[in-house]
């Protein structure tokens, strides 16, 4: 069941999207998210959907794999929808007992759902097509101007890359611990909320201990190789823009302009 979480996992294959400079993908994802909140009519979302489908098609990542990550946010999605559905004031549509569903509520709920789904799909597409190392390299470069304001950009990037790198490792570890406890008759799936929360203790204790041990080992290994922060550190593979990256930037700008014009101004 833990294999279903795809957020933060890299999918190894060959494609144009995989080859793009991580900075392009970061900016693109950011723009895409902005576009989702700028658009407030159906045409804007159709354009966003088309753009997303195009990206997925270009990325060679099987759609099944991308949407598998959706299962994990399903709960969040339902809650958001319920809140929006019942708590938005406006023109009454249906009413029963203490609840009223308004026209605005339906609109708001479906818009929120679309936004959330697109947002997760878009950002998981980025992490699926970019290795964690590349991703943080890109982030480091993009945030470099912040160094002027004494923001420890390199350190933040390093922390992020370590965190991302450890997601699959810890996930695998969780899987193993879960199995080891299930072999001793542990049950993680049934019972009331409280029993279920309690049943997590045998899972979390070994997981935390192993995470701390790994962190310790990693710190030692970094120190042994004379790591001392970003000052004067060079890159083995510096990021350089190529022609596809420029084309990609163009596509994104055109896309954002289209969404703003169609989703906000024209209609």
């Amino acid at each position: 069941m833990l294999r279903d979480i795809t957020l933060g996992q890299y999918y190894r294959t060959e494609s144009v999207v995989h080859k793009l400079d991580p900075r392009v993908k970061l900016v693109a994802t950011f723009m895409f998210i902005i576009s989702l909140f700028v658009a407030n009519n159906i045409i804007g979302y159709i354009i966003a959907a088309l753009f997303l489908i195009m990206c997925i098609a270009l990325s060679n990542v099987p759609p099944k794999f991308i949407f598998r990550g959706m299962k994990t946010i399903f709960f969040l999605l339902v809650i958001t929808m319920i809140f929006n559905l019942f708590l938005t004031p406006g023109k009454e549509l249906v009413s029963f007992w203490k609840f009223t569903i308004t026209y605005e509520g339906v609109k708001m709920a479906s818009m929120m759902a679309i936004r959330l789904i697109f947002l997760i799909t878009g950002s998981s597409l980025m992490t699926l097509t970019t290795t964690p190392n590349n991703l943080t390299d890109g982030l480091e470069r993009l945030l470099r101007p912040l160094k002027l304001f004494k923001v420890p950009v390199h350190e933040i990037a390093m922390m992020m890359s370590i965190a991302l790198r450890f997601i699959p490792i810890l996930m695998e570890e969780t899987d193993k611990i879960m199995k080891a406890q299930m072999a001793r008759g542990a049950d993680f799936e049934s019972g009331s909320l409280i029993t279920r929360a309690k049943s997590l203790v045998p899972l979390l204790v070994p997981l935390f201990i192993s995470a701390f041990r790994r962190a310790n080992d990693l710190a030692m290994a970094m120190e042994a190789r004379c790591y001392r922060g970003g000052e004067g550190r060079t890159k083995m593979k510096p990021l350089i823009y190529s022609n596809i990256d420029r084309i990609a930037y163009l596509v994104i700008i055109v896309y954002l302009a289209l969404v703003i014009i169609c989703g906000r101004i024209l209609f």
Binding site: R3, Y11, R12, T13, P62, K64, F65, E173, K176, I177, K179, A180, Q181, M182, A183, R184, G185, A186, D187, V201, P202, V205, P206, I209, S210
Partner: protein
């Protein structure tokens, strides 16, 4: 109470580009009371195989039977199965979590829904069976040495009174003394309690002295499945799949080729010694 695997296939990460078969057409029959060694190179599918035996993994195709019943039938109680087929994982760190060793061993029987008295009795029994000292009973399991941690982990599974005990590389990361202790302990459990034992290892040396039958896995398939001496006859093929026969086998083979009248089928150090002494006419 035998375990039967019938044409079991298992594919990891099905439907993705990372899909790869971990088990290919595995057919096995493990009768009651046998001491089996399961050997294979890293990534040969041995860990996946044992997880099929207690229902932690479901085969992509094929079926697993325990005691004549298909364990993936809708109404089969897999939780009860896991008490009967005890599986001790490779790293004790993956299962120890309580504040003291005794409580940790109680975890298994408690999950079976037994009364508190029975739980504690079983835990005490299990810790005694693995030769764990009373004075460490109430110590944190995290302060123990590798060998002692492993004992607690084995006790944690033994406390559920399994009919089959599967141990995944129980000697990994132990020093020679610790290895021997653990292996002797397992052998003792087999003799005294008469339970089926499946010992997973990548070292022939480890298992040769103890087991009645060796199953060799290679790239998800069963490569050999026979008595130790029969398997070791194929020492050349074993080398090709990245394994090796025990050193005894090599010595005996070379002695035989050099013209000494020895039986090259012996598998244990003790037998080899006797064979060599016999060949030299010393006894």
């Amino acid at each position: 109470m035998s375990i039967i695997l019938d044409h079991v296939n298992y594919i990891y990460d099905e439907d993705t580009a990372m899909a790869h078969p971990a088990l290919i057409d595995v057919c096995l029959n493990i009768p009651n009371g046998q001491f089996v060694g399961l050997i294979g190179h890293t990534g040969s599918g041995k860990s996946t195989l044992i997880q099929h035996m207690n229902g932690l993994e479901k085969p992509t195709s094929g079926s697993v039977f325990y005691d004549g019943k298909d364990i993936h039938d809708a109404d089969y109680d897999r939780k009860a199965l896991r008490a009967k087929v005890g599986l001790v994982f490779q790293y004790p760190e993956h299962q120890l979590f309580e504040t003291d060793c005794f409580k940790d061993v109680c975890f298994g029987p408690k999950n079976l829904g037994l009364p508190q008295k029975e739980v504690e009795l079983r835990a005490y029994e299990a810790l005694k069976q693995v030769g764990f000292d009373d004075e460490y009973f109430y110590q944190s399991p995290f302060d123990l040495s590798g060998g002692q941690k492993r004992r607690v982990a084995i006790a944690g599974v033994l406390a559920m009174k399994p009919e089959v005990l599967i141990l995944d590389e129980p000697t990994a990361g132990l020093d020679p003394k610790g290895r021997e202790d653990i292996l002797n302990l397992i052998s003792k459990l087999h003799k005294e309690m008469g339970i089926t034992i499946i010992l997973v290892s990548h070292s022939m040396e480890d298992v040769a002295n103890y087991v009645q039958r060796i199953i060799v896995m290679n790239k998800g398939r069963v490569a050999f499945d026979d008595e130790p001496k029969e398997v070791f006859r194929h020492y050349k093929e074993l080398e090709q799949i990245g394994l090796a026969a025990p050193q005894v086998t090599y010595i005996m083979q070379e002695l035989k080729q050099a013209g000494f009248p020895v039986d090259s089928d012996v598998t244990t150090l003790e037998d080899a010694k006797n064979e060599i002494l016999k060949a030299f006419g010393k006894c």
